[in-house]
Every structure is written in C-alpha cells, then in structure tokens.
C-alpha cells in the first residue's frame, strides 16, 4: 500500500499539510493550555469558597442615606462577632478591616468592614439561611453573600474564557479540515490522469482514497508531533521554574488527544474528498 501510495503521490506532495498541521497543532496546544489553566484556577476558587460566607458592613446606608463613622462600623462588626461567635456551624470567623483606622485619608469616608466566616463542612442544609436571618436581626444593614455570589462575575468570565478556548480549538480543527480538503482537491486535479489509470486498472474508489490517506499520515503525524513538542518543551521548562498549577498529565492527555484528532480529521476529510471526487467516475 505504501509503495502504491508513493507511486500515485510523491512524498513532496503533502508537505504543505505537514507545515499547516504544525502551526495548527501549536495553536490547538496553546488553546488547550489556556483552557487547563483557567479550569485549574476556577477549580481552586470553587474549593476555597464552598464553605464560606462573607458579611459586609457598608460604610454608607442607601436606605437611611447616611455615612457611618468608623466607630459605628467597628461596633456593628463587634456585634456580629458576639452574635455568631458561639454558633456551632461556624469554625472560623475573621474580621477584616481594610485600613488601620478604617478611614480613608482623602475623603474622610470610612471603608466597609468585611467579616469572613468559614462554615463547618458537615453543616445542615438550612445553616446559611439561618445565619442570614440571625445577621439581619443583629445588624440589618449588613450584606451577607456566599463567596460564590461574590465571585459569580469572575466565575462567569472564567467560564466564558473556557468557552473561548474551546471555540478556538474547534476553529483550529475546522480551518485545518478546510485546508486539508482544499489541498487534497488540488492534488486530485493534479493527479487526475494517474487516478483514472488506477481506476481503469481495477482500483476501487476506497482503495484510491486509502492511498491518499496513507500519504497524508506521515505529514500529519510529523506536523502534529513538532507543534505539540514545542509547546510541551516550553511548558516542561516553565514547570521546572514555576508552579504552573495544574498537573502535566492533563496536558499530556490533551497533546495526545490533539494528535489523534488531527490524524482522524486528516483521514476523514481525505477519504470524504477523494470518494466525493471519484463518485463522478463510472
């Protein structure tokens, strides 16, 4: 098969596909890397925020239309600490004042106080609601949010980023498929006479398609391997110098998947284009 394939299509025929796959594979690897990076970061956030509540004591009341002074805010935060301090559902309570005197120098407006509460892992389902009610009774102006609610906008951005990376990877494969299809079509036209001869000698359309498939296997493999290796080497070097966050195993799996995708794509598109073109023959 390899011999026949070489006879129908000389080795230089598909070097363009190799170069294209090299670039596309490189881009696909970078997209996969971006996806993994965002996934890892958001994954860590979600683990950290699962058992947390944050209470904000604002420095300004919209309803009362007044600015609280720093002492008042301090008293309110102390009130909350006393009310929640002995609650069995809470494992840790941390009051975070933004500045030492809690007053901004330039405008003389106090800054809000944040109280971070870590909840017991084995709490009951209604713990959060119960605590919200308790805080509302103690300090009505306090704003209670889960950390998920606080970070919902940044999590949405992260999700969108992951979608962008996935869409980019998909685009890389679609563009690659189109380029492979165009190169195969051009080659089919260039080899028209030889293909016709093979056809008249009894080669089935499937056999002719497989000759093309064998021919593109090598450039796709080499292109993909080079593209992936460059990203792989850069990442390995980075992993030695810095904590890149995510497991390299995940990246290896992505690299393998990208290579398999390119081979499958190359084979599938080639077969489809060749069979479609040979359909016109008797």
């Amino acid at each position: 098969m390899a011999h026949l394939s070489k006879q129908l299509l000389p080795s230089s025929t598909f070097q363009h596909i190799g170069v294209m796959v090299f670039f596309m594979s490189f881009v696909a690897c970078l997209c996969a890397l971006g996806f993994l990076f965002v996934k890892d970061i958001t994954g860590k956030w979600i683990i950290d925020i699962e058992h947390s509540l944050t209470i904000e004591i604002p420095s300004y009341s919209i309803e009362e239309e007044k600015i609280f002074d720093a002492n008042h805010i301090s008293k309110l935060s102390e009130k909350i600490r006393l009310a929640l301090g002995d609650d069995p559902a809470i494992t840790h309570l941390k009051i975070e004042k933004i500045t030492s005197n809690n007053i901004m120098d330039d405008f003389d407006i106090p800054l809000p106080v944040f109280i971070e509460i870590t909840l017991h892992e084995q709490r009951s389902d209604n713990t959060e609601d119960r605590l919200r009610k308790k805080i509302a009774r103690t300090v009505p102006v306090a704003i209670v949010k889960t950390n998920e609610e606080w970070q919902s906008s940044i999590l949405a951005v992260a999700t969108r980023l992951k979608m962008v990376f996935s869409a980019l990877t998909l685009c890389v494969f679609i563009v690659s498929a189109m380029i492979i299809g165009a190169i195969i079509s051009a080659q089919l036209k260039a080899s028209q006479k030889n293909i016709e001869l093979f056809h008249l000698m009894g080669a089935t359309p499937s056999k002719i398609a497989s000759l093309f498939q064998v021919s593109i296997l090598r450039p796709v493999l080499w292109g993909s391997a080079f593209g992936n290796t460059i990203v792989f080497l850069c990442l390995s070097k980075l992993a030695l110098l810095y904590d890149i966050g995510f497991s390299l195993i995940d990246f290896y799996i992505c690299v393998a998947a990208i290579t398999v995708c390119f081979i499958t794509l190359g084979w599938g598109v080639t077969r489809w284009v060749v069979l479609k073109s040979l359909w016109a023959m008797a």
Partner: protein, 216 residues
C-alpha cells in the same frame, strides 16, 4: 464473457456516437475492431474497459450487468481486463519497472513475486535493460512495449488493445501479435482495434466493422 445488447452511447446529452450495438465476445475469442476515424472505435473500447457506462442498452461482463453492479463489483471486473491505450498512458514519474508492476501491486502481490514477473516479461519483450529508465527517455516503440507489458502481466481474461502495433517495427509487431495469440490460446479474449489491414491479413481473425457508430 461480454454481451452487448442494443447498446447506445452519447456524451453529455449530445448525439449518439454508438447506436444499437449488439455483440458477444466469448472466452478465447480473438476479434479485430476496424472502422474509419470517428466510427466509434474508441467509444466502444471505452465501454469495453468500463471507462463509460452505456446511455441505453445492457452490457454484461461475466454475466453481471455493469450498469447495475456497484463500484466494487465494477472494479473487480476491471481487474480482469487488460487495456493497451493508444496513447500508452504511462506514468512518467515512475520507472519502467514500476509502470509494468502497477496491476500486480493493485492486486496486492508480494514484491518478490512482482520482481520475478516483471523481469520475466521485460526480458521477453526486450525491455530488461530499461527497467530503471523513465518512460520519457524511451522511444515511442519502447513506450508501447511498456504499455503492452503492463496490460498482459496480470494475465487478464479480456485484453483490449487500441492500435497496439502502431509505433512498432514489423518484427516487434509480429512478436506482440504472437504474444496476444499465445494469451488467446490460454483463454484470454482479445480485441484489437486497428487500421492496419496487413496485420489482419498476417494474423487472420474475425473482424468487427464499425460504421457511424453501428456494427455492420
């Protein structure tokens, strides 16, 4: 072996180039196909090597209707047909060896068997010293011999030859005709399209005459 029944052929909706052609080619038969230019010889040959399907009528190869056979079956029938094209249709990027070996490679023979077969036929046909050459460096006669070797190497059941001796000298022409007769004796049906009256006289066989797309 081949049965044509009221066959007609037209290209792209044009006028019929073959009309109402009916003929039977039996196993071991030898026919000449003669006719003036434009009589439809090439079109009939095209139907016989299944390069085209008829516009009307039936063609049966080995009791299979080619119009109704699927592509795989048609390909299998083509493997049993050896064709010598008038323009040789050699692949110029390949050596003489690879050109001759093509049908055997398509049939999936081992490289050792291919080497033996190609050497044997190349020796017989006088091309043994040219096996590594590219066809473009050969004379017209030598190229024709490569085309003949390629057509007969797989010992086809049907051999179609379009002006097979056109570029050959008398001695080589006679040698090629002897090869065809030898294959014919082993059961290969041979159809030779030619203008050469001398050839028909020297190697007499039934003649199919085409006139304006019809067998007369």
């Amino acid at each position: 072996m081949i049965n044509l029944s009221h066959v007609g052929l037209r290209y792209d909706g044009g006028a019929e180039v073959l009309s109402d052609v009916s003929l039977d080619i039996d196993k071991g038969s030898f026919h000449y196909l003669m006719g003036q230019s434009g009589s439809g010889k090439t079109s009939l040959m095209r139907l016989l090597y299944i390069g085209k399907l008829p516009s009307r009528g039936d063609i049966r190869f080995f009791d299979q209707d080619v119009s109704k056979a699927n592509r795989i079956k048609r390909a299998l029938i083509r493997q049993k047909i050896g064709v010598i094209f008038q323009d040789f249709r050699l692949i110029n990027s390949l050596s003489v060896f690879d050109n001759i070996a093509l049908p055997l490679r398509l049939a999936g023979l081992s490289e050792k068997d291919i080497k033996d077969e190609v050497s044997s036929i190349a020796k017989w046909i006088g091309l043994i010293d040219y096996l590594k050459s590219k066809p473009v460096f050969l004379s017209g006669g030598q190229q024709q011999r490569v085309a003949i070797a390629r057509a007969v190497i797989s010992k086809p059941k049907i051999l179609l030859a379009d002006e097979p001796t056109g570029s050959l000298d008398d001695e080589m022409g006679a040698k090629i005709m002897s090869l065809f007769e030898e294959l014919n004796k082993k059961g290969t049906a041979v159809i030779v399209a030619t203008h050469n009256e001398n050839l028909v006289e020297k190697f007499p066989h039934p003649v199919l005459k085409l006139k304006k797309g019809t067998i007369v």
